[in-house]
Symmetry: C2
Subunit: 364 residues, 2 copies
């Protein structure tokens, strides 16, 4: 959008507009920093949520020790913005991608996750050929049953291979307790989260007993930061969603950060006083964990999303007419942000800046 | 991606890669043109599916009379590619968007849908101020209960307003029988589709009896082209998905066009011989109407999508290892294409071209 619109009141923005309440975002960044202040656990926030080097720089300025991302393409965007200490928290597989990775390692301190001996051998060969020493974390499956090697001896065996690889530097272990986040009962969630993280910490201790230094033990996300972030032996957490928050984490998990992300939409059709159609559908909002929530005007709820439309129903409040604005909190920030090219940065109700979502679509 | 990769075998592409089987796409374009050849009904294909001016030009070259799109931003991309006759099959609401629309009308033959008298008055005033005559179709609700005015007298009343607006040119009526497409029983689907389309045709006849010419009666999509495209009184259909096809239309509705769109992905983790994780999750594929389907290798199925990963399970065939390629047919082409920046155009198994998905993300 034209930068000449800076200063426009939020309500006058063209829609659909992805809006960042920058005061809420700043408060969320401070709050997470404060939560870890008296703890030895450090924060390496996950940029897969915001996909913005500007927001990553704000997190680093508040004390984050580095940035986490999901894809090599995201790491390249962060590196181009001058960020050095980047963890790609996934496996990088295949000749072409590995060539990109070791090239990135030549001018950053990028780290990568591994869970496979053949991949370790390829990374080692490519790193030696490039003349870099690539930093490596072993991903341990601590119960999610997705990627990762099993805790204990299988991790030790792979760590020994990494340690024996001249092109690689073993940095430690990581695991994600994603399977415990949505457990309804807080006590059960705490117990299962701690049981998962214990597998990771115990594995790190096993490696140390076998004389392998393990500087990094990385785990946790926004859903478990108050558990994993205090667990003895964990050195850093990878929370991402806390910065903007979303409906799933606030409503489903009860995480008490502020909503910093909304979508502003416009009513395009409203024949019936109890219904309205807005210009935001599945290309603007996602429903990964349920439908997004209308926060303004009161009394209206989103009851469905088709490709180009959102379907609103009135439970109270005044009828809407074409042209009326509707503000919606995404249910899943990460995938919603991925649909948009720009943040409309709002401070005190006015457009303060337009920030590119520079790593959007960097899926490879 | 670098254009120097032209000529690369499909299996060697970096992933995730959205691939267009251009021979299947060409066959689908020919097939739809042939299906309407002996009919008075014309095709105005919906570009919300492919979002590509190149594909739109291929459709026009095969006889399409113009292009349909969903958003003003898409129309602007089509216009920049030299396409003149564009239907925006939705309401354009608000001062800023209307200013963009009448500007577009100054150098194209853009048409827009209306369903509201106040919006008609605003479009008329803006068109007069700009010195253009904006082409208008009334959207009629023929049973979908989304946007549109009711058939019959309410449409007549709005048509009389349009006809009385010096800035507007009344072009006819449109309606979408989207509520009948997924009816399982083919005979029930035919009857309900015809009953819906009859409402639109009867409304056009009512207008004509009141001396309002109705050149355009537009309806239908890929799911009903063989019914609506033969219904007397319909003048054009808006089918879009037929060009690339997808799982929902082929598996759920039984539409027999060829699969022209796939996502190529790579196995990134495969600890267990009966499971594998690929590098394509919800930022690469959508599950609007169910999960996408693995077409290669045989014996594997996609059982879930998380944000960055697809979860595969083996029902037969050989185990997979990291680095193996997997090819997947999207379940919903329109929203899947919207996640990608480029088509990898494949002919006879080789990369022939890389085409930008120029209207991706043009949601406003």
């Amino acid at each position: 959008m034209p930068r000449s619109l800076i200063g426009t009141p939020k309500a006058d923005l063209d829609t659909p507009a992805l809006c960042l309440d920058i005061e809420a975002v700043e408060a969320n960044i401070r709050r997470m920093a404060n939560a870890l202040r008296d703890s030895p656990v450090r924060l390496r926030p996950h940029a897969k949520t915001h996909k913005s080097p500007i927001l990553a720089q704000m997190q680093l300025a508040a004390g984050a020790i580095g940035i986490t991302c999901a894809k090599l393409g995201e790491a390249e965007v962060l590196a181009a913005a001058g960020i050095k200490d980047i963890l790609i928290a996934n496996q990088i597989i295949g000749t072409g991608k590995i060539a990109r990775l070791v090239n990135l390692a030549a001018y950053t301190d990028v780290m990568v996750a591994v869970d496979d001996a053949a991949n370790v051998a390829e990374l080692d060969a490519a790193s030696q050929a490039k003349g870099v020493r690539l930093r490596v974390l072993i991903e341990v499956d601590i119960g999610m049953a997705r990627c990762g090697v099993f805790p204990g001896e299988p991790t030790l065996a792979l760590a020994q291979r990494v340690v024996a690889s001249p092109g690689l530097r073993f940095e430690g272990v990581m695991g994600y307790e994603g399977h415990t986040i949505f457990l309804k009962d807080p006590e059960e969630r705490r117990q299962k989260t701690e049981a998962s993280v214990k597998l990771l910490v115990d594995t790190a201790d096993l490696l140390r007993r076998r004389c392998i230094p393990v500087p990094i033990v990385s785990s946790g996300g926004t859903g478990t930061y108050f558990i994993t972030g205090r667990y003895p032996g964990v050195t850093e957490i990878q929370a991402g969603s806390y910065i903007t928050m979303d409906g799933q984490y606030r409503e489903e998990v009860g995480i008490d950060f502020a909503y910093g992300l909304t979508v502003l939409a416009t009513v395009v059709s409203a024949r019936d006083p109890d219904r309205a159609e807005i210009d935001a559908g599945l290309k603007t909002l996602t429903r990964d964990f349920g439908l997004p929530k209308v926060i303004d005007p009161p009394g209206w709820e989103l009851v469905g999303l088709s490709e180009e439309h959102g379907h609103l129903r009135r439970a109270g409040g005044a009828p809407l007419k074409p042209g009326d604005k509707v503000e919606i909190v995404p249910n899943h920030g990460c995938t919603t942000i991925n649909l948009h090219d720009e943040y409309h940065v709002i401070r005190r109700g006015m457009l303060e800046a337009v920030w590119p979502i520079a790593a959007r679509g960097k899926i490879g």
